[in-house]
Structures are given as C-alpha cells and as structure tokens.
Amino acid sequence: MGTGTGRVTRDDPAGEAAIAVEGVCKRFGTTTALDGVSLRVEPGTFVSLLGPSGCGKTTLLRIIGGFEHADAGSISIHGVRVDRLPPNRRPVNTVFQRYALFPHKSIFENIAFPLALQRVPRAEQRARVAEMLDLVRLPGIEARSPAQLSGGQAQRVALARALIGRPRVLLLDEPLAALDLKLRKAMQLELRRIQEELGTSFLYVTHDQEEALTMSDWIVLMSEGRIAQQGTPAEVYERPANVFASGFIGEANLLPGIVAATDGTTARVRLADGGAEVTAPANGVRSDQPVVVSVRPERLRIGRAGSANGAENRIPGRLTRRVFLGNIRREFVAIGPDLVLVAQRGVDAEPIPNGEPVEVSWQAANTILLPDEGASHGG
C-alpha cells in the first residue's frame, strides 16, 4: 500500500493490480522462506523481484503460480482471488529457470501445447505458433526437436510457449541465468521489447541487480523473506532505504560512524574507523545515532593532496590498488587502518602511482545516511 509514487502506470480504470500479494508467509519446516510479503504489479509493467540467493524469490513466484501454498496471506490476479485455484486455472503463465521444454514433442507441439489442450483448430494453431516464433525471432524452426536447440533458443521457445495462450500476467524465474553474458544482455533487451509489444505484465525474478536496473519499471528488493525496499530503478539506486539496499543495488562504500551534530537538514558524522568527519543530508538522523554513510564509487574524486575542488567532504588517504575494467578504472584508497574506499575514474584521468598520498573528495549531496541496523534495533 501507498507505494504508487513515481510508478509507471497504464490505463487501468478499475485501478486493480495485475498481481496483488498481501501478507504472504511461507515456512518450510524450520526455515521461513517468506515473512509477510506484500506487493503490487501494475498492469502492463515490468516488475523485477530482486534479491540474493535463498531470499524467497522462487517461493513467492511458485505461490503466485499455484505450485506452492502460502501459510498466510492472499494472492489476487486482476482482482480475482486465486489462492484456492490450481495452476491450470490461474490466468498466469510461468517461464521456469530450466526452460523445461517437453523432450518428446517437436518445437511446434511444445509451443502449441496450450492450444492443443483447448482443442484450437490445427490451422489456427499453425498461424499462432508462427506468429509467436516471429515474436521471439526464431521463425521456421517448428519441426525441430528441443534437443536441437541452443540454450538461448530453448529459452525463447519456452517464452513463446508461455505467451501463446495470451496470459495477462507472465512470471519469469531467472530465465536468463543459464545463458552467457553476451546472450543474456541481448535477451534482456528482447524480453523488454516483447513485454512492451504485448503489454503483458511481467514479474521477473533475478538475483542480478544490473539486470533488474536495465529491464524494470519497478524493482522489489527482497532480503530474507521480506521486502527490503521497492521503487523505480532510479529511486532504489539513488535513495536506498537501508544498508542492505545500498549494498545490493549497485556498488557502495559503506562507512559506519556516529552522528556528531545535526541541524535537521545536514548532519556531521564521525567515522568509526579513522575518525574523519563527513557532511551529509540529515535524512532524519539524530545526534549520537549510529549510522552508516553510503557513497557510490562513481561519486568519489581522487586527487593529489591539497588539489582544490568544491566538494564538502575530503579525506586524506593512500592509493593502494588499481583495477582496470576497460571503460573505467577502479581505485582503492585506504583512509583508515581497516577502511578502504572504492572510487571510479575514467581511463583518461591522470594516473597516480600506487602508495601515493591522495585526497578523496565528494559532495555532501551525494552522501546518504542510513540507520545502522546492526547497532540500534528499530531506532
């Protein structure tokens, strides 16, 4: 509830969600896989369910698909409660991680499977299968068998099979995880194109934050069976709500410290390690509160000690290591006994030799203060 801000929405007069999950809990023996999860997928949007391995993404998807039953909570699809419906009676289809094409059927029979079940006439089946194969850009492979396909092709066929029945909602469980990086990038764009072309709502499970940022209208970030944060990709990246979100989406330097002073708009934080002081927007913190300072590597500037620029935060340090990543360089700067900052520089930037004393600087506006959950519970 109340998470509609900045949300991509399409015409939906009834205002009903494509998927509405309310307070779903699920336990397996002693493990709690889902602990009160609620989320909405607006019609026609691409929503990513993002989180580390074992946080309950697959479990949630299986509950929505009808393969698992929630211990508590409810699922509605386009306004209809589906909790008691078997998978075949739910208006959603699923693309599984292991594409699970039927090995005994041809590609045509695989894709036409839902139509054959509905006894759609053969001619219409042929036309619709051809249409689907065009959509996934694999025209003319009807007669092949699944064993004759590459991983990427098999995944496209699985997608075509899931879409041929024209579901209003499609669930995808890490469908690209088995593909190599290059193919995965290409398929990300393909999936997004297909989703936009058909206007189907997608709920897409991934543990790859970059994938989620690239593809989604909306990201639901999960951690240990709960939702850690949700919002547009820009929101969750620019304004992480907690340490977990900050660390999981994109890279971040996370520096624990104590609030030394605050006037309500800006705060000064003394870092626990090294004792340097950092200025940041207050973000509701109180004096003496333990916090974590989060700064993205691309916000950091590195210069020789004393070089002038307008940044409020400047910390002396020593360059310890440099990693070349092709388009950018990643520099590691030690600013305390056990504290190393990661900064990002263009490849053209003036090279500074390892071990040199440098100054790391960044603007107060690019600093985020997050409550230190490890130190103060519920504070």
Partner: protein, 304 residues
C-alpha cells in the same frame, strides 16, 4: 582435406575425419568390442537353440524319431485344430489381461513412490526386490488356500452368511490364473516403470499444469509419454512371461484357465512330438510379438 590444408604442423588426430596416412580405427570398432560378449552369449545360448527348434518345427516324428521332412504340416495342424486355436486365444486373453492389470497396478505403485512417497522410496523398492525373491511355487499354493472351497475368501463369505455354497469359480478358472500371474509379475513390472519415471522431471509436469493441463491432462500428455519406454517394457516383459507360463495354469487354472504353455510342455514331453511342440511355440511367439508390435504402433500415435 581439411587436414591437408592446415599442413603437417598439426598433430594427426585419432578421429574418423582424418584422411591422411593410415586409416584411423573405424568409429564403430569400440562399440562392437563392447557389444561382443553379450552378442556372443545371445548367439550361443539363445539364437542357436531357437534356430534348432525353428528347424524342428518343419520336421516330423516317426516311431519316436525326429525325421527332417521339411513340411508345413505342424503349422497347419496348429492353426486348424480347434483345440489349439482355443488354447491360443485363451493364452493371449489371459496373458494380456494379466499383463494389463499388472502394469496398471505397478504403474500406480511406481508413480506413488516417485511422486508422493519420495521419502520412503528406498524402503519400498527394497520390498519390491524382496518380493521378487519369494518362491514362485509357494505363492501359487498360498493362492490355492486363499481361493479354494475351504479357502479364506469362501469361508469368510459363508460365515458372514452372504453365500451358502463356496464360490467354485474362484479357483481353477481364468480369474485364478490371472490373479496368481499378476501377483507374481507386479514386482517385475514396477522396476522398469519406476526407472522410467525417474527421467520425468517435476518441472515438466509443472509446466504442463501451468499451461492449462488438468492433473489427468498432464499425466496423459507429459508423464505417460515420457515414461512410456519403461511402461511398454514392463507390458512386453509381463505379457511374454505370462504367455509362456505353464505352472500357474496347471495348478490353479482348471480348464477355462489353462494356457498353451502346458500343452506345449506335454507335446514335447509325454507325446514326444517335438516338431508340433516347436511349431506351437513359434506360433505363440509370433502372436505375442505381433500383438506387442500393434500396441507399440498404436501407442506411438495416441501418446504424443
């Protein structure tokens, strides 16, 4: 050709494509070497004796002596005399019934341990194997005491007052033969079916359900076709064993439950008519194989 273009710097690979120099080992050679022992065994102990009996089936007997006459007389006799025709029919019906009932029960069992009782699968499979070891004759006699006039079923029904006279059709009938055969064959059928069901992945069934199949639809269109090799193997195995059995019909079958196997045995034995016995055997084999072939062709059309 490719090797020539690439020049002599490349090491010559031991593969079928290399055309330079001495021809490499042909691709089939290792396969043949692996198959040889089994082939040899089959040749000596199966094909050989079968070929000998096939030859006998065209001979005749004169004064208790086999005469190589090369005649079709035995086959003609086997295919025209009503007693043999009736026995063939009875054999195929009883064995077919036993095989079908066996496979249905064995499938249900294998399906249950594969999909619902996974935790107990090892214990249950062990029980199946133990059942294979329990004596064949012991079980036949056990069934006689269960099904007979003085048996448990009749006595129970009488003491309940449901019947006054024992139901005599229970023993010495086709029902008795079928029950005993099924009891004997079930463990044999469970093993291949269970092995085939192991190859059916949960996801394949879930996908089918997801795409709109009912539980039966998923079974009929996905699980059964994927497991069919094993199910058909079980069907073939049990049908062949049942059609060739001659102890069970003799001990519990009576007249209506008797089968060709017993007649073949006595034709070879007391009657010493090896040629006719051989012809009857081959005809049984042909009928069984033709029926199985029809099932195979039919099933491939239906299960897709």
């Amino acid at each position: 050709m490719a090797a020539e273009r690439l020049g002599p710097a490349l090491p010559v690979q031991e593969s079928a494509e290399v055309t330079v120099g001495r021809p490499a080992t042909p691709a089939w050679a290792p396969t043949a070497a692996q198959l040889a022992p089994a082939l040899l065994f089959l040749l000596v102990f199966l094909v050989g004796p079968v070929a000998v009996f096939f030859a006998y089936s065209f001979w005749t007997v004169k004064a208790y002596d086999l005469v190589p006459a090369w005649t079709l007389e035995n086959y003609q006799k086997a295919l025209t005399e009503p007693i043999y025709l009736q026995l063939f029919a009875q054999t195929l019906v009883t064995a077919g019934l036993a095989a079908i009932v066996t496979v249905v029960i064995a499938y249900a069992f294998a399906h249950a341990i594969r999909f619902h009782l996974r935790r107990y699968q090892e214990a249950l499979l062990l029980l199946v194997i133990v059942a294979l070891f329990s004596g064949y004759l012991v079980r036949i006699y056990a069934w006689r005491t269960i099904l007979g006039d003085e048996g448990i079923i009749n006595q129970a029904l009488i003491s309940l007052g449901l019947i006054r006279e024992p139901l005599s059709f229970l023993l010495f009938s086709r029902i008795a033969t079928t029950i005993v055969l099924v009891n004997f064959l079930i463990p044999l059928a469970i093993l291949p079916i269970y092995a085939a069901l192991q190859n059916v992945r949960d996801e394949e069934i879930e996908v089918a359900r997801d795409l709109g199949a009912t539980p039966f639809g998923a079974f009929w269109r996905v699980t059964l076709p994927l497991a069919w090799t094993g199910v058909f193997a079980a069907l073939g195995l049990t049908f062949i064993i049942a059609a060739g059995d001659y102890v069970t019909p003799q001990l519990v079958g009576g007249t209506s439950g008797s089968m060709i196997g017993r007649t073949i045995a006595s034709t070879f034995g007391t009657a010493f008519n090896w040629p006719l016995g051989a012809a009857l055997s081959f005809l049984t084999l042909v009928f069984v194989l033709v029926l199985l072939g029809l099932v195979k062709v039919g099933s491939e059309r239906v299960l897709r």
